[in-house]
């Protein structure tokens, strides 16, 4: 299980900007940048204390496999973790760092 990088200096919100193309394999990117239907593993969540705690209590946390289901361009998207579907905004998805297989 990948551990949280405890010494990460990124402040919440200062995550990598959405890129034009999709990230290549094995690359660490955000949930925004993986295509629909693809899966990845959550590496870190940098959403600030409050949202981090909320996401973690909902089961959205580092180490989990996540599948991106559908997305509305730069609008909200649906993801699946452990068989449960969640919806979140583009902005929040940008704070969830994932690693593609």
């Amino acid at each position: 299980m990948p551990r949280r990088n405890r010494r990460c200096r990124c402040s919440p919100g200062a995550c990598p900007p959405p890129q034009s193309g999709f990230a290549s394999k094995d690359e660490v990117t955000t949930l925004c940048d993986i295509p629909e239907g693809e899966d990845a593993v959550i590496v870190e969540i940098m959403a600030g204390r409050r949202l981090n705690a909320r996401l973690s209590s909902m089961g959205i946390r580092p180490g989990k496999k996540v599948v991106k289901k559908t997305g509305f361009w730069r609008g909200p998207m649906t993801i699946e973790i452990d068989g449960t579907i969640y919806a979140l905004r583009w902005g929040e998805a940008g704070k969830i760092i994932v690693k593609r297989k």
Partner: protein
């Protein structure tokens, strides 16, 4: 304890959202429920009773939560109840399809020192998915009773209650905890020791839980220790503690403990494509989602209004006949009060019951089928750009039916700012009661264009709501809408019983409103319209709503305010009456013109004070001015503040005046003011 000493057992029902908690609650308590609010907050509190064997159970339904942090109102309500009221048993409803996440709440309930009994639901769905759960082993490993429950069929509810009674009457309680690792445990112990020093405080709060929360920097718990013996030292420890890291570490440890248990008794099947997945591919598709959403909403509204119409006519006729009968047979002023005032006035509101019931039926179907969460998802982007939240959409939509349930529906919005903005703008959605006003006025003065005018009014309502939301977001409630993270429950066929229960509960509340606040309102209006200074200079009964009545005096007193809009005293009176319910505007004009509702159209057309420009202004004013009495009362209840209620009244009436003024002037400019 022997069985005859059991007596009363306090049971609290907890669990994640969407796990079927209300189904279990209904299965346990049946019809013996009472719905109210938690003290000081507008989170709904349901309490029910059940006799099980020798025991009298009092069951409290706690809000659905994922965790017990201080970040959300629901979570604070839940944990405060458990700490302060000390229920004998906490039944946690656990969704078998996502055990890991559900057990995360269990670890926290246990840390609070609660005696937990788990009601396992959705086992059939988990089975379909190919998961296998060894319930006995799970129960053994977490040393907590676990009962597989199928509440829809009423299955195993008895077994669940047996376990509840057994757990409540057991003498010893083994306190379960998750170990947080050497370093953290040392800190926890230090804080626990410090807490122990203040004996009265320590008796009230679960020590270990409080210590953990203090290390997480929980503000509520930190407030609680203010003034205690160990406060200074605890604050010093807090200063040295990186809360965010501790919070993450604690979450990790809890999940580790859960994983350790689940690895021994739970096997996740290969995930197959389910019906729900396939539906989601269509309903949340980026191309199909919005058109399907619009089609569904359109259909729901069509059914609400077309199917409701014949029923409404029936009630209308019944009310009319009853009022006539009473006025003829009950002598004196009391007959008029009863017939014209009470039956007519309350009847005007009861007429909308079919619409309201159908609207709630449609909403219950959308909710129970799991589509409502998708609707919020689809609308979030648009709502966000307007400074609102995806969940604000539902109340706005309901506002086209009736603003009362719409304002109540804002309860689903967690963030206070998002919620208040939604409450303030929802009344601008043109409710069903305003339609009769448009039909008469547009029909009389705009002939073939009436349809376009009415559509324009609905659009104006939406535009004002949207612009107001933007304005509030940039002034009164600065900041971004709260993050949108929402669980999408699986689609399922709505259960008739749940749908009817929800429809009826809402309809009942509407009727209750008609019987209380509206009843009081119409009596006041009737008195004002019936009494006045007679030509002889005495105070007494005068022509109902005529020139001598108190209402006319009020109308004339208010006239200068309405003069710039071209409204005379009769319109002013009608608008004042409209506060009781907006459709009363038409009824009042009917009385004041002495024409009844049928002849009103001709009477208005021949009145020189009226012209298309004034009619347009009046319609705009009726659309936007202060919400009716029932909505005002609901806003007060939901915001918990007279200040915001007054603001809502002042703001909407101010906007109404300005835009009605503009409408009249534009009307005169384009030559319809003559």
């Amino acid at each position: 304890m022997s069985t005859d000493e059991i007596g009363k057992i306090k049971v609290a029902l907890a669990g994640n959202p969407n796990v079927g908690k209300s189904v279990i609650f209904n299965a346990i308590t049946g019809a013996h429920q009472h719905v109210g609010n938690w003290p000081g907050v507008t989170v709904e509190k349901k309490v029910g009773k059940r006799r099980h064997g020798e025991a009298n159970l009092e069951v409290v339904d706690l809000p659905g939560t994922y965790s017990l942090t201080a970040y959300s109102l629901d979570e604070v309500v839940t944990r405060d109840y458990i700490i302060n009221e000390k229920p004998d048993v906490v039944v946690q409803v656990v969704d078998a399809t996502n055990l890991e996440r559900n057990l995360y709440l269990t670890t926290q309930l246990m840390e609070l020192g609660a005696r937990v009994v788990i009601a396992l639901t959705m086992c059939d769905i988990a089975e379909e998915r190919g998961d296998s759960i060894d319930v006995k082993k799970l129960s053994h490993l977490i040393e907590t009773p676990v009962v597989e429950t199928r509440a829809y069929e009423g299955k195993n509810v008895g077994t669940l209650l047996d376990e509840v009674v057994r757990e409540a009457t057991r003498k010893e309680h083994h306190h379960h905890t998750v170990g947080y690792g050497k370093e953290l445990e040392e800190k926890i112990t230090t804080v626990e020791r410090l807490l122990e020093k203040d004996v009265p405080l320590a008796e009230k709060m679960p020590l270990r839980w409080s210590a953990v929360k203090l290390l997480e920097g929980d503000e509520e718990v930190t407030k609680r220790i203010a003034g205690s013996t160990g406060e200074k030292e605890i604050l010093k420890i807090q200063d040295e503690t990186p809360f965010e890291l501790i919070e993450a570490e604690i979450a990790d440890k809890r999940y580790e403990a859960i994983d350790a248990v689940l690895s021994q008794c739970h096997r996740r099947g290969e995930r197959k494509l389910t019906m729900s997945d396939m539906m989601d591919r269509v309903f949340t598709n980026k191309w199909l989602g919005i058109p399907l959403f619009l089609a569904l909403i359109w259909a729901a509204f069509q059914i609400t209004f077309t199917a409701g119409a014949p029923l409404m006519e029936l009630i209308d006729m019944g009310v009319g006949a009853l009022a006539g009968l009473v006025t003829e047979n009950v002598p004196g002023w009391f007959g008029f009060l009863l017939g014209d005032g009470i039956i007519g006035g309350v009847g005007a509101v009861v007429i909308f019951l079919p619409n309201i019931l159908l609207l709630f039926l449609m909403l219950a179907l959308l909710e129970e089928s799991g589509y409502m969460a998708r609707a919020a998802f689809i609308m979030d982007k648009l709502m966000y750009s307007l400074g609102l939240h995806g969940k604000s959409f539902i109340p706005l939509l309901m506002g086209f039916g009736c603003s009362v349930p719409a304002v109540m529906a804002t309860r689903t919005i967690d963030d206070k700012k998002d919620r208040f903005i939604t409450i303030l703008v929802t009344p601008f959605a043109s409710c069903g009661a305003r339609l009769p006003v448009y039909i008469i006025l547009a029909g009389t003065f705009f002939g073939r264009n009436a349809g376009n005018i009415i559509f324009g009014l609905y659009a104006l309502g939406v535009i004002v709501a949207v612009l107001s939301a933007k304005l509030f977001r940039s002034t009164l409630f600065r900041g971004s809408p709260a993050p949108f993270v929402m669980e999408m429950p699986p689609y399922r066929a709505p259960k008739p019983r749940a749908v009817f229960r929800s429809t009826w509960n809402n309809g009942r509340m509407y009727l209750k409103k008609a019987g209380t606040i509206i009843l009081a309102g119409v009596v006041v209006v009737w008195i004002l319209a019936s009494f006045g200074i007679t030509p002889g200079g005495e105070f007494g009964m005068v022509d109902y709503g005529g020139e001598e009545s108190l209402t006319a005096h009020i109308g004339k007193f208010m006239e200068p305010l309405f003069k710039p809009l071209g409204f005379d005293w009769k319109i002013a009176v009608a608008l004042i009456f409209g506060f009781v319910a907006k459709e009363i505007v038409i009824g009042s004009l009917g009385v004041l013109y002495g024409a009844g509702e049928e002849g009103l159209s001709a009477a208005l057309a021949s009145d020189p004070a009226f012209n298309p420009a004034v009619a347009l202004g009046l319609m705009v004013f009726v659309l936007l001015y202060m919400p009716c009495m029932a909505v005002v009362a609901t806003i007060k209840k939901e915001t918990g503040s007279w200040g915001w209620t007054a603001f809502s009244i002042a703001y909407s009436t101010g906007i109404a005046w300005l835009l009605a003024f503009a409408a009249v002037k534009i009307g005169i400019l384009i030559g319809i003011g003559g």
